[in-house]
């Protein structure tokens, strides 16, 4: 299990990545996280919602209410241009972080 402390700094990058190509709604993102991490990490609902909220108030996401084909009305989230910039910054930060930590892994 991944400790929530370790991954906390990277919830933003995970969510922004998954919204890169198209808007998505809460559970859809949650399931993609579990699938893409091959079940190694499941983001708790409160963590996910808290991240959506924070990213939206920072202007990285925009939310709108939308309807799936033949389905329910849901809140969708979409990446803003600032969001894309933020993703690039977080990505660069991670590359450096990874390089540093890797120096101490045998």
């Amino acid at each position: 299990m991944i400790s929530s402390d370790v991954i906390r700094g990277y919830t933003d990058i995970i969510i922004l990545y998954l919204l890169m190509d198209e808007p998505g709604y809460g559970y859809e993102i949650s399931r993609k996280i579990t699938d893409r991490s091959q079940g190694l990490y499941t983001m708790k609902e409160t963590t996910l919602y808290s991240a959506f909220n924070r990213l939206e108030s920072n202007g990285y996401l925009r939310s709108f209410s939308g309807t799936e084909t033949g389905g329910k009305t849901r809140t969708y989230y979409e990446l803003t241009p600032q969001g894309r910039i933020h993703y690039q910054l977080k990505k660069d930060e991670w590359i450096v972080t990874k390089k540093v930590v890797d120096q101490f892994i045998k």
Partner: protein, 334 residues
Amino acid sequence: MDAIFNYLDNMFAHLPKTEEVVRAKNELGQMMEDKYNQLRAEGCSDNEAVGQVISEFGNLSELAEELGISNQYQSASSEDKFVSVTAAEGEAFIEKTKKAANKIGTGIAAILLGVISIIFFSGYAEGTFSPTLGGGEPNKIYIAVGLGLLFILVAFAVYLFVMTGITTEKYEIFEKKMVKLDPHYKLIIQEAKENHRPVLTRKISIGVGLILLAVAALAVSGILSEDNEALLISLVCVLLATVGVSVWLFLSGGMIQSAYDKLLNEGDYTLERRKSESVVQRWASPYWSLVVVVYLAWSFITADWSKSWIIWPISGVSFGLISTIIHAATSSKQ
């Protein structure tokens, strides 16, 4: 499915209904519903799906800042009022409680049996049961036998109480602090408590019914055959034996119930009640010690064992009255 929305309602029950809080609740509910439906579509049973959704819900304190409710979470945790309990600890606690209820019930039954024996033997010594034994010196032997039995049985009971006290000591913290459970385990305990409710009701009704029958038998024969002391003493003994059985029923039902209440912070163990309960507890031990002293002093000075037992039901009812008054006083202060 309802279980999920009940859970969510519970989590949000104490929060102010601001726009942010309502939005968060709707969004979280939507995600949980989607996840539940997906799990069901993948072949999970209702229980499995509910369990997984709730265990992956997370913790509302993560949202405290966004929702503007951080003060509430701070005040709750900073005063260190909570103790976290895992499923394994909870199960061990319930198991210990069951055993403790049996031991205490046996101890009380032993004490009552001792009281029965002293009543019976002192009646016997006075020739109540057979006229040929009336008066005379050697009958003191019977009193000695009765007293001997009483002391042995009381000693046995004290041993049981002390043993129970030692094994349950480490769970005393559950009485003082609010308990925090893993959400999934909480759901299991809620269900167990619900299943236990009819059992508790049945045990209490049988116990009360038995005591009422024995009291009625004693009262009726007291009126009809006032002079038949042998019959009256026997009925007092039957009444005490009945009380022993009923107390055992009350304990085995009630202690489990309060174990569930402690884990769920319900009933007598809500935040307000826990405060007034500790006042009652400070009272209880000197109170009952005093009752024992009065009972023994009265019995030994007057040698009237067949009457002095009346002190127990009287002090029991008074205790109930006093704790009710303390609860009322404490809650009105708040």
